[in-house]
């Protein structure tokens, strides 16, 4: 008896906080409440970092010795371009998890990411075009980097369009997940396009492994704006995911309770 009791104690699974958190994340009412508390802080941090980053980028940082004042577009363009790729990468990971483990929250988070990623891609393309005119003398060239970034925008629009074209939400999400996963092949093409092909677009000035060729007076505002963009994504993603949850679970008791509480 004693031996059995000891064995039972030994094989009892330990409750890891990360596993518990992932389990809780899968519960729509818990996710709705938790994200509701987090969103105001994310928006506030985004606003504070953006004001600080813009102040440093537009007023404190010097003009570039070759590009002049137009280099200030970098503090918008580069974080937007990074976000456009990062969000698609995250969408691919979420899609994989959603397709393999059939986790509904992952489908919702993936679909909520797509419009934000598309918005950052539009900003990257538009600001890049406006930066190109004074620097290269043209708004647009069919250069490998620019073209692959445009393909990324079409992929985002394709994922959104495919999801909207199918009525049944779970089927729509699975189809969109599959497209998002296949489209991830474009990410290394965008990243390495400036190395693989002879492009008008410049190569990377910032490297995580090697030294960055950008001066610290320009690097700091750039990094602050990049972090601010991540907070924007977090706040917007959670806001959209909560709304999608309300929409999908409209007939469930917890949603009715939430709306009743907000109304009273």
């Amino acid at each position: 008896m004693n031996t059995n009791a000891t064995t039972m104690t030994k094989i009892k699974p330990r409750k890891n906080w990360l596993v518990m958190f992932i389990h809780k994340l899968g519960s729509p009412p818990w996710f709705y409440n938790f994200s509701g508390k987090l969103i105001p802080w994310l928006w506030a941090t985004f606003a504070a970092l953006t004001i600080w980053g813009l102040y440093l980028g537009l007023y404190v940082a010097p003009a570039d010795y070759q590009q002049g004042e137009s280099v200030r577009i970098m503090y918008l363009h580069v974080p937007a371009a990074w976000m456009s790729m990062m969000i698609y990468g995250l969408m691919a990971v979420m899609s994989f998890i959603a397709l393999v483990w059939r986790i509904r929250m992952m489908e919702i988070l993936m679909m909520s990411s797509a419009p934000i990623g598309a918005a950052f891609t539009i900003i990257a393309l538009a600001s890049g075009s406006l930066w190109g005119r004074p620097t290269w003398g043209t708004y647009w060239v069919w250069d490998a980097r620019l073209t692959s970034e445009l393909v990324l925008l079409f992929l985002y629009l394709g994922v959104i369009g495919l999801h909207n074209a199918i009525d049944e939400p779970r089927k729509a999400a699975r189809a969109a997940c599959l497209l998002a996963l296949v489209g991830a092949v474009n990410l290394p093409i965008i990243h390495y396009s400036v190395k693989w092909w002879n492009t008008l677009h410049q190569g990377s000035s910032i490297s995580l492994t090697g030294g960055s060729s950008i001066d610290t007076s320009m690097l700091w505002p750039l990094l602050i704006m990049a972090v601010a963009a991540k907070f924007y994504y977090g706040a917007n993603l959670l806001t959209r995911a909560r709304i999608k949850l309300l929409e999908q679970d409209m007939r469930k008791g917890w949603v009715k309770n939430v709306v009743k509480e907000q109304t009273s």
Partner: protein
């Protein structure tokens, strides 16, 4: 070449797109909450008629 119009245009595009992307879900949220309130009212009316 004066670079200011290009810089301000880029930031204006960025602001408009981010504002639109941030505000659009709030409009959607109001519509959905209205739909849910209507659903609750319909269910209450149905329950009262059966009682």
């Amino acid at each position: 070449m004066n670079h200011a119009p290009f810089i301000w245009a880029a930031y204006a595009v960025g602001a408009v797109v981010l504002l639109w992307c941030g505000l659009a879900p709030l409009v959607r949220k109001n519509t959905i909450r209205r739909d849910i309130r209507r659903l609750i009212q319909l269910e209450e009316v149905e329950r009262d008629s059966h009682a």
